[in-house]
Each structure stands twice: as C-alpha cells, then as structure tokens.
C-alpha cells in the first residue's frame, strides 16, 4: 500500500530524528553584501568535503526555473517591492522543495549562501511588514545553524565600491530614489543591516565579526560548527516536511539516507 502524504511526513520526521548527529544539517551564511560570507562559505564547504561530508550548496535566487524570470525583470528595472518579494519567495520555495529538502533527507550537509533571512532583511528594508513576509515564506524550514557576518555599513560600502558599482536593486535605488548608486547603497545597506541585527536577536544567529581576518573567522566557524553538531533536530520543522510531502509528485521515492 502506498503511504499518503501525512504518513510519509511522519515517517521522514521520525527517521530524521533517529539519525541524531548523523543527519544532514542546514547551515546558512547570512549577512549584507560585502561581509565576506561567500568567501567563508567556500572555505567552509571545502573543509566539510575534506572531512568526508557530502555537501550541497544552494545560493540565493538561483533556481533554473525562476532566476531567469527575475533577472530579466531586474535588468528592465520593472519590478516593485511586492513583486520582488513574491518572485524571490517563489524561487526560494522551488529550491527548498527541489534542492534543499531532498538533500537534507538524504543526510547531506546543505550550505546555503543566503537563506530566508536575506529576504526578511531586504524586503523589510524595502518597507514590507515582517509579519507578512513570514507568512509568504511559510511553512518555514529553520536552519540548524545561521552564521551571521556582521559588518558596518561603511565597511560593506567600501568593499563593494572597491570592485564594482552596485546594481540598481542591490543599491536599493527602487526605494531610495537616489540617482547615485553609491549613495543609495550606503543608505539602503544601513537599513538592511539594521533589519539583520534585529533578526539576529530574534532568531538566535551566531554572529561572526566579519571585520576580523579571514582565516580567524574560518577557524571560528569550524569550531562553532563542531559544537553545534549535537543540536537536536528542531521539531518545528515538521510542518515544512509535511508540506513538502504533500507537494511532492506521488511517484517520487523518498527515504532518509537514501
């Protein structure tokens, strides 16, 4: 007899819990542009692979299905805050269902270069209500660990300006209405960082001082990761697992560690 979505979700949750410290973890790297999180994510991923873990990386706004749609509209500067939010939420959901959840139930380590909190910080900085955003992105799958790379708006601005001119939406020019991308970026990233700092407290991020030397940060991340391996699986992720089981095509075989 084939199991229904509820039975499948129950089985998956039970199996994930039984795997204990051998289960796959979702580790999110969050922070403003120019905080060095991508550098740290790459170093961390290489280290994990060297330690023998099976690692999957997922990046913000990267689904094959929705990324081209968002990119075309960003190039035309034709989307406003709400459309920006809804399209990114669709991209996130698609990656969660097709890349992240299958990897986690197969006991892989998922390293996310930006996760849900990027949307919360940026969209809240664009003036959208946090409460509405949390609804749009629900059911939420919470990462096991969130590393938040903390930098000042000045450092972020300097690091970006050293390499390139910020793009229209990256600079928040859609909401600041400032013609100078550097000035717009300075103002917008201050708002984004303010939102991140609030989220870091609410959601218990592990804050990394991203102004410190790169290798010092990397060593700290390794240490914090090893300490966090013992964390129990957050049971509030059951709703997201149930939703995923319900959304999945009926013919897909799913099993933990399969």
């Amino acid at each position: 007899m084939t199991e229904n979505p509820k039975q499948l979700a129950r089985r998956l949750c039970d199996q994930i819990q039984k795997r204990g410290r051998d289960r796959g973890l979702l580790i999110a790297f969050e922070g403003p542009d120019g905080s060095g999180k991508t550098t740290q994510r790459k170093l961390f991923k290489d280290w994990l692979v060297g330690e023998g873990y099976d690692v999957v990386t997922t990046k913000w706004n990267s689904s094959k299905l929705i990324k081209p749609i968002i990119k075309a509209r960003k190039n035309m500067r034709s989307i406003n805050q709400q459309e920006f939010c809804l399209l990114h939420a669709a991209d996130f959901r698609h990656r969660l269902e097709n890349d992240i959840m299958p990897a986690l139930v197969a006991d892989k380590m998922v390293v996310a270069d930006r996760f849900l909190f990027t949307a919360l910080a940026r969209d809240a900085a664009r003036g959208l209500e946090l409460d509405w955003l949390l609804h749009i992105y629900s059911p939420l799958y919470w990462p096991d660990i969130v590393f938040y790379f903390s930098v000042s708006p000045e450092t972020s601005g300097k690091r970006i300006a050293a390499t390139r001119t910020p793009k229209y939406y990256e600079a928040g020019q859609d909401v600041t209405n400032i013609n100078d991308p550097f000035e717009s970026y300075r103002q917008f990233i201050s708002r984004v960082i303010q939102e991140y700092e609030a989220l870091a407290v609410i959601f218990n991020f592990i804050t990394i001082d991203a102004e410190k030397p790169i290798y010092d940060q990397h060593l700290l991340i390794r240490k914090l990761f090893q300490e966090s391996r013992e964390r129990p699986w957050p049971k509030w992720n059951e709703e997201a697992i149930a939703d995923w089981a319900n959304m999945m095509p009926r013919n897909r075989e799913v099993g933990v560690g399969s």
């Binding site: 749609i69 399209l87 509405w132």
Partner: protein, 178 residues
C-alpha cells in the same frame, strides 16, 4: 501589507473562467451594455508563465510556487493595468482574478490562511462572475490560461476540480454565473 486601495472613480469586476479560451469573449459579455469606458486585464500580462513555459526545465513548480507566481502576475496587472484604468474612471474586468489563485490553493490542499495572506494586497471587486465549466472536452495549450498551465505542470486535467470550487463559491453567493 495592506490591500492596495482601488480608486472610487472606477469599477472593478472579477471574472474567473475554467477554459482560458473563454476569457476574452466572456469579459466582453460582462462589459456589453455598460456606458462607462471599459478595460480588460487578462492572465499573464507579466509574461511570467509564458517565459517559464519556454524554459523547458525538468523540475516542475509545486502548487505553492504556482500560487506565489500567480500572485506576482496579479500584482503586476494591478499596478500596470487595473489601478491606472480605475483611476481614469473605467470599468475593468479582471479575468481571471484572485479567486482562481484561491481555487488552486484549495485544489492542492494549501491552507486558506496562507493564501489569504498572499493575496492580502488585492482590492475586492465590486462584483464577481464565473463562466461555468469547460467549454471543450480538450484541454487547451498550457499558455492559454492559468488552469491549463497548472494542469500541464501537475500532469492532470484540473478543470473539473476548479469548476467544483467555483460551484461552491456560487452556492455561497460569492459569484454569479455569467
């Protein structure tokens, strides 16, 4: 997020159809005999679904992802078509409107509370209509309408399920058959 405010000068009418081929003729029928300037806003004015269909990606979007994309299209239509026309005092038929998004959520078993939040931005129409049932036994091409698109993605003809949703809606006095 608060609902976008619809200007009091115009009139917003919603029309939900099962067969995408019925959209324009039915919208014209709604507008026939009205004295005011009129306008019609149709599905996928943003071309999100048309572009996605052209991508030919193996991983299909889930119903939840489709609802989010549908909401993005409705928002686009409100911003560029519906609200500007209402500001000019026109009578606008939105075909389809938010109930089609609610219908997909219901068909897929998504929580009502979630879909209410997704469409919180959409102003309520002054009057709502539906076209009863599929007009053809053959499902039209995926880019004909949202229900055809969803049917293609989900590998099943969803027209009867959508029709049942609108039957129920009509029984509760929330829309009228055209």
């Amino acid at each position: 997020m608060l609902a976008l405010s619809a200007p009091s000068s115009g009139q917003l009418l919603s029309l939900d159809v099962i067969d995408g081929r019925d959209a324009l003729p039915a919208a014209k029928k709604v507008l026939k005999g009205r004295n005011a300037d009129t306008g019609i806003s149709t599905w996928d004015a943003s071309s999100i679904f048309f572009e996605m269909h052209g991508l030919q990606i193996g991983d299909k979007p889930s119903a939840r992802t489709l609802v989010l994309l549908y909401a993005a299209d409705v928002f686009f239509r409100l911003r560029w078509q519906i609200l500007p026309a209402l500001e000019e005092g026109k009578c606008v038929v939105a075909v389809p409107y938010v109930e089609t998004g609610f219908a997909l959520a219901a068909v897929a078993g998504l929580p009502r509370r979630w879909v209410n939040e997704v469409f919180r931005f959409a102003p309520k129409p002054q009057d709502s209509f539906r076209v009863n049932g599929p007009s053809s036994p053959m499902l039209a091409a995926p880019t004909t309408g949202f229900i055809e698109f969803c049917s293609n993605v989900m590998n099943q003809d969803l027209r009867q399920k959508f029709s049942s949703y609108f039957d129920d809606l009509e029984r509760r006095g929330r829309c009228r058959t055209l």
